[in-house]
């Protein structure tokens, strides 16, 4: 295989592994803010135990997010030097802003979050949780802005450069805010954050459902499960709205990508495929089920309106179809499932009926995998659908700006065997990491949240012990009350 294929494989592999963690920490951040807020509001110590439990798991995920994230920043330079020269002026500034505004905020306050329970007061601890959550959202903002600029570039021009008499091209910022708020930034950022919240919600549901099935930590599990379901339901519905809006944007800004998502080979009224097997050779979607005219209807509110097909683009400018089509449909299918599951569960939460439905709890235990897959699949669709461009060509103020093809972005000095070697090493290390992550995660889940008495005994503080006992009995009473009411 040549350097291009290998470098793309390496980037895809490392970014997909990395992307398991950031959306999880963003989504969990929201849940933790809610839980710690409840603790501050009620003073009930079992909320505190819940917050501590999720913080431990959060820290584990966060560490992996950092460790795998540094790789990404290096890879732009190591494997994609020509790309870095072309985009550095624009992309680099977003990346540097991410470092200064987001990473310092996250990593600084994370220390307080994890190690600061006994060193700072509850209010400052809550503030730190909020800051870590905010920091993780900021980092999503900057990186998604940088990525969106490559998909729908704005606020820049491409200029000729000359270093050592060697001519070249590069993109330079002309209007910073137009670059930041390029045509797809807002849509894509919102959709990305929504995806993260859904994952956070289902992650919390998964572990809570497991406890409910095993009849362990039931008060904790009911509370967290409820929060998780509410978060998942709100954001699953939101993802449908944002996804619909985003598809309309893509049809305007990147019609080739939308055509690939839908396997829409020929310009004309567009059908909406529920599933299928697009075949680029025969220019058809095989074994598919489609709603005729639905794509046109969704985009233009008119089922006869023609949608630009792949045939409108020169063969060398067409994206691949099979992978964007399948990943897009997997994401959309899972999204629909999330809406159904979370909304039905919301109804079943009334009176706690859902806590007696073991099979449904089992569904929740495994749905978190679907949420991971949906987040990954969405990005696969977004990134393969924009090929062959790493930076889209565009028209700025009536002047057409050349794009940058992925194949033009490689490092000139890197050889295939070097990339092979590093892929093998990444494969090995990431497999190991993944195994260790699962092992420790399982260990923490099996250990579970602390119960009131045990925590007080360990710290040995009388006041905390008293508070813990009081809170504990209060919460026990509370759940007894609920039980009686239900009867």
């Amino acid at each position: 295989m040549d350097v291009e294929v290998l470098s793309r494989l390496q980037f895809a592999g490392t970014i997909m592994f990395h992307y398991l963690f950031p959306p999880l920490t963003i989504g969990m951040g929201l849940v933790m803010v809610i839980i710690e807020g409840m603790w501050l509001k009620t003073g009930d110590v079992s909320w505190n135990h819940a917050a501590r439990f999720w913080t431990r798991i959060f820290a584990l995920n966060f560490a992996l997010g950092i460790a795998t994230g540094i790789v990404m920043e290096f890879e732009f330079g190591t494997n994609w030097a020509a790309y870095s020269r072309f985009v550095g002026d624009v992309f680099g500034s977003a990346l540097a802003a991410e470092g200064i505004f987001a990473f310092f905020l996250e990593s600084g306050f994370l220390a307080v979050l994890v190690f600061g329970w006994d060193r700072v007061g509850p209010k400052l601890h809550f503030f730190s949780t909020l800051m870590v959550f905010l920091g993780s959202c900021f980092s999503a903002i900057w990186i998604v802005v940088a990525n969106s600029w490559q998909q729908t570039p704005a606020g820049y021009h491409v200029v000729d450069t000359e270093v050592n008499g060697v001519p070249g091209l590069r993109a330079e910022i002309t209007d910073y805010w137009a670059m930041v708020f390029n045509p797809s930034s807002a849509d894509r950022l919102i959709h990305t954050l929504i995806g993260a919240m859904i994952l956070g919600g289902f992650f919390v549901c998964s572990i809570s459902a497991y406890y409910l099935i095993r009849k362990r930590h039931e008060l904790f599990a009911r509370r967290c499960f409820t929060i998780g379901v509410v978060v998942a339901a709100i954001f699953s519905v939101a993802s449908l709205i944002s996804g619909h809006h985003q598809a309309q944007t893509v049809s305007r800004t990147q019609p080739a990508k939308l055509a690939a998502f839908e396997g829409h080979f020929k310009t004309g009224p567009g059908d909406l495929h529920l599933f299928g097997w697009p075949d680029a050779k025969t220019q058809q979607v095989k074994y598919g089920l489609a709603i005729p005219g639905m794509l046109s209807f969704l985009l233009y509110a008119d089922s006869e309106e023609p949608v630009t097909g792949l045939d409108a683009f020169a063969p060398e400018d067409q994206p691949p179809v099979w992978l964007p089509f399948q990943s897009y449909h997997i994401m959309a299918g899972l999204g629909t499932f999330f809406i159904l599951l979370s909304c039905v569960s919301l109804v079943l939460l009334r009176g706690g009926r859902i806590f007696r439905m073991r099979w449904l709890l089992w569904v929740f235990v495994f749905t978190v995998f679907g949420a991971f897959v949906a987040n990954e699949a969405g990005w696969i669709a977004a990134e393969t659908g924009r090929q062959p461009w790493v930076v889209y060509p565009s028209v700025q103020d009536g002047v057409s700006m050349p794009g940058l093809r992925t194949s033009e972005g490689l490092s000139e000095s890197v050889r295939a065997e070097q990339v092979w070697w590093s892929i093998a090493m990444f494969g090995l290390i990431y497999t190991l990491l993944f195994g260790v992550w699962l092992y420790v995660l399982n260990d923490k889940i099996q250990h579970g949240p602390d119960e009131g008495a045990s925590i007080a005994r360990r710290t040995g503080s009388l006041r905390e012990a008293a508070a813990a006992l009081a809170g504990h009995s209060r919460s026990l009473l509370g759940s007894n009350h609920q039980r009686e009411e239900r009867r």
Partner: protein, 342 residues
């Protein structure tokens, strides 16, 4: 708006500040990692890991921000350097990943074999990272065989020539000493007594390598000495450097470890400054033809980007310094094992 040359100069200085911030902060936690295996007991190892527990990932963010700022301010230098050091930087990445994971996972179970594996991982990755930073710095001092089109074809073995190896040894011994002083500040009792011994030994090793590196630099990098002829005020840096180094044993004799730590911080800052002064105005000197060297004027981003970035830095850096100060304040004092510890 400032003119393009001034902006490039400002960004060169700001990158220097980020580099100094990174080497001072991550320097001590890499040093703690290098010292890790010679601790006497499991409790001591846990204390050592927890002395940097709340701090190390914040310290590493300085590196991430340095990388991002280099990408934005001097994209051509970023592209050339990162692809030129492909293998070395991949090794560095593996080391940084392993380090993060070793810290995070080592104390998760009681199993001694599990802990031994991660102990070794923590040591090896800290050592390798400290060493590779020195190797990369040494190679940049010598210059890279960069052709007219800004590409470098050089293998890892070629990059491991004697001079970079000595600079690698310099960073390893410097960070080890720095880490030992940090441990002395953060610990008490037996561990502190040991840390004191480690400081003396590390200081001895560092002094030998420092003198070797100084002589080697005078011979191998004549460009560096020319700078001192042109700008005599630069002599402040090596003089301060020597004074700071001499102050480390003095402060330790007087039982003033905070001064010793400040002195090792000053030593790191002075060495980073000397490195920057030696290559300036180049970012990547070319050994094939000095005229092809990437300077801060040829590698820079557009004036507009540098200007915006300066604004971002002016807003962001005070925040960063505030959080850093707050975190170090919250976690001040001697390290103790608590239930949230590693």
């Amino acid at each position: 708006m400032l003119d393009h040359d001034t902006l490039a100069m400002i960004w060169f200085v700001l990158l220097g500040v980020l580099l100094i911030g990174y080497t001072i902060l991550d320097g001590f936690d890499l040093g703690v990692g290098i010292l890790h295996p010679i601790a006497k007991s499991d409790e001591q190892r846990r204390l050592m890991m927890n002395s940097i527990g709340p701090l190390w990932d914040g310290n590493e963010v300085w590196l991430v921000t340095f990388g991002g700022a280099l990408f934005a301010a001097f994209p051509y230098a970023y592209a050339t350097v990162f692809s030129a050091f492909y293998v070395a930087f991949m090794l560095l990445l593996f080391a940084l990943i392993f380090r993060a994971v070793s810290l995070e996972f080592r104390s998760k179970t009681e199993n001694p074999a599990w802990r031994r594996v991660w102990d070794f991982g923590f040591f090896a990755s800290s050592f390798l990272a400290a060493f590779l930073f020195g190797v990369a710095g040494g190679n940049l001092m010598l210059g890279l065989p960069m052709s007219q089109n800004l590409t470098v074809h050089q293998t890892l073995l070629e990059q491991l020539s004697p001079y970079p190896l000595v600079i690698g040894a310099l960073t390893v011994t410097l960070f080890t000493m720095h880490g030992a002083i940090f441990l002395y500040l953060k610990t008490e009792g037996d561990l502190q007594k040991q840390a004191e011994q480690w400081i003396w030994r590390a200081f001895g090793f560092f002094l030998v390598v420092y003198m070797l590196a100084t002589m080697f630099t005078l011979i191998e990098v004549p460009r560096a000495t020319h700078k001192f002829e042109e700008h005599p005020w630069l002599w402040i840096a090596p003089i301060l450097n020597v004074l700071a180094i001499a102050n480390i044993p003095r402060a330790m004799f007087r039982k003033q470890p905070a001064y010793a730590f400040a002195s090792s911080c000053a030593t790191i800052a002075a060495l980073a400054f000397l490195f920057a002064a030696a290559i300036f105005p180049d970012l990547v000197p070319s050994t094939i033809d000095p005229a092809w060297s990437l300077t801060i004027y040829t590698a820079r981003a557009s004036a507009k980007t540098l200007d915006i970035m300066l604004l971002i830095a002016l807003i962001g850096m005070p925040c960063v310094l505030t959080y850093t100060a707050v975190i170090y304040w919250v976690f001040r004092g001697k390290v103790k094992l608590e239930r949230t510890s590693y």
